[in-house]
Symmetry: C2
Subunit: 346 residues, 2 copies
């Protein structure tokens, strides 16, 4: 049987670190994944209200196809500035593309943001939103250990009508192949099955990593919400959440296997299935669901197998890890005593 | 509580009919959904080995964005010819775009095919593959009632290591809004959870429509395949199935609500989540997973709600229906006594 890595975090994949910066007054924050140099990366955007930066540079048909860090941020469009802080800090440390002698290093820092502007925090920042500064701080905090739950980009997040947050998980597939996921869950859909006791992701849980509640206690067919495709719509509408870009699940998956940019793209596409399995509904017009996929390039693939078979297996593992990370995010956010369960009604 | 439509088939959506043509000697076939005139349509291709026709005409930025019929076919690339037969037959009946007086009607017949060339049927068709003829016959057979299981485009299909086939399901959301799905399941992934007693789609089952087996009997964590992201890889490799384009889930979702082409696109994207929830792994490099979405335009949306909220709810219902249709396909195919459980080893 396959097991999670030693930390059950995306940082079990060698070469990656994660840092958070959280502003409790603003009720928002930034999370950064640092790649330790340019690594093959791709992105798959499937939500109807995305907020992103430097996604085109990762398109397989374009030149670079690599990233030096990935930024996840609260703050909606203002959160995109977090990548400015990360890019400037990395460049000062000489991390980035070196195109011309004497020019600064050019770090590629793709970013995606979630909407947490209406969660009761102090958003009266006028001309000086805090995200650039939070990006710098998150980068300084990066390490192999990091917190889950109501921190960083997940500090102000909601998962449907429950508190959202930051989650992570990993799996060791043997032969040096480790796959991990990092997620900020701010979905309009719910991570809980109707009835509210079981996570949608329960079949994928390892070692009671999100509470070990298992499948729903009662037969689901008996629950009146079972056949409702959007059971929380009226509550979400009242909370002002039925807005384009007002919700989002932001995921990053990473693997140790040496993959090309196009192979990372397929892994990112497959990893979206982890969102589908852990959140219902997902990929709605109101979500900005985005998944980045990275290769750490620390392990060669077994040359006796077709590369596409490896990619399919890694993509499936990435989907599993992302589903587990989503449930862990909600689990850890829910156990944080500072949580605010509902955003203010407008 | 919401209930399936009267037939629990995609034909519960007014204006759509479905027909099959099956060739038991070839062990293949064709399924056609007829739209009763040009209807807003979109498509979302997510598999790594698709085989399609007339998908570009459905791109939201292009002119037409409508379809007169959708063809699902076995036969890999040869199956695309089924759409020729359907297009010619529709045109003879004056169904299609009328661009210039005196010219034949021009039917838009998007199609997607699945690979069933190695399933033991007689494929020695040389210069005369049967699919054009099967397309004509499927169109002639179209009606509101149609069979599920090992028929039409699903006649030669496999769902992982189990028999695949044709499935369908519907849901009545009230106020005239009916959503339905049609699917041909030939996935590399399994529709069954580890242990083989429960369908992945079990949470979505209504009225014991695929056997009523419910959730897995034993805790899943005890099953050695639980954490394996691709538990059937070795059996599928031995069966020659680990090939690009060798597997595919082809879906069509339809709703009665009047949607635009771009709204159909979002519904098709959300419906892919039904594949993710009902099949694991899905969207691999070896699958050609493709979902079409159509609007029957027989019901106006409630103008008191935002259109995007309607689209999200319809998309979520489409995902549910597609997940249920996938489980019904495998359920009905498995109860067919003529099934061949494994393709010949090569």
């Amino acid at each position: 049987m396959f097991r999670p890595g030693t930390r059950n975090l995306i940082t079990d994949v060698p070469g990656f670190t994660v840092g958070h910066a959280t502003d409790d007054r603003v009720v928002s924050g930034v999370t950064v994944l640092v790649c330790g140099g340019g690594r093959p990366a791709a992105v798959d955007v499937r939500g109807g209200g995305p907020g992103t930066r430097e996604t085109d540079v990762l398109a397989p048909e374009n030149l670079v196809g690599r990233a030096h860090a990935i930024v996840l941020a609260g703050g909606s469009v203002f959160g995109l500035a977090a990548a400015d802080g990360v890019a400037a800090s990395l460049s000062v440390n000489d991390v980035g593309l070196k195109l011309t002698q004497g020019s600064p290093a050019i770090p590629i820092v793709p970013a995606a943001v979630l909407h947490d502007l209406a969660n009761g925090g102090d958003k009266a920042w006028g001309l000086d939103p805090p995200y650039r500064r939070l990006g710098v701080l998150a980068l300084q905090a990066a390490g192999q250990e990091f917190s889950l739950g109501s921190v960083g980009a997940g500090r102000g997040a909601m998962a449907g009508v429950n508190k959202g947050g930051i989650g992570s998980a990993s799996i060791d597939l043997g032969a040096g192949i480790v796959v991990g996921a990092l997620v900020a869950v701010n979905s309009i859909g719910s991570a809980m099955m109707p009835g509210g006791t079981a996570y949608w992701a329960w079949p994928f849980e390892l070692d009671a990593e999100f509470g070990g509640a298992g499948p729903p206690a009662a037969p689901l067919g008996a629950h009146p919400d079972n056949a409702d495709p959007a059971p929380d719509d009226s509550r979400l509408l009242a909370a002002g959440r039925m807005q384009p870009g007002a919700n989002t699940t932001l995921g990053v998956v990473a693997c140790s296997a040496e993959l090309t940019t196009v192979e990372c793209k397929r892994v990112a596409m497959m990893a979206q299935d982890g969102i589908a399995r852990a959140v219902r509904p997902a990929h709605t017009p109101f979500d900005g669901d985005t998944v980045f996929a990275l290769s750490g390039c620390s392990a060669a693939l077994d040359a006796n197998h077709r590369r596409a078979a490896h990619v399919g297996r890694i993509g499936s593992a990435a989907a599993d890890c992302l589903a587990r990370a989503i449930a862990r995010a909600v689990h850890h956010a829910g156990s944080n005593p500072t949580r605010s369960v509902e955003p203010p009604r407008r």
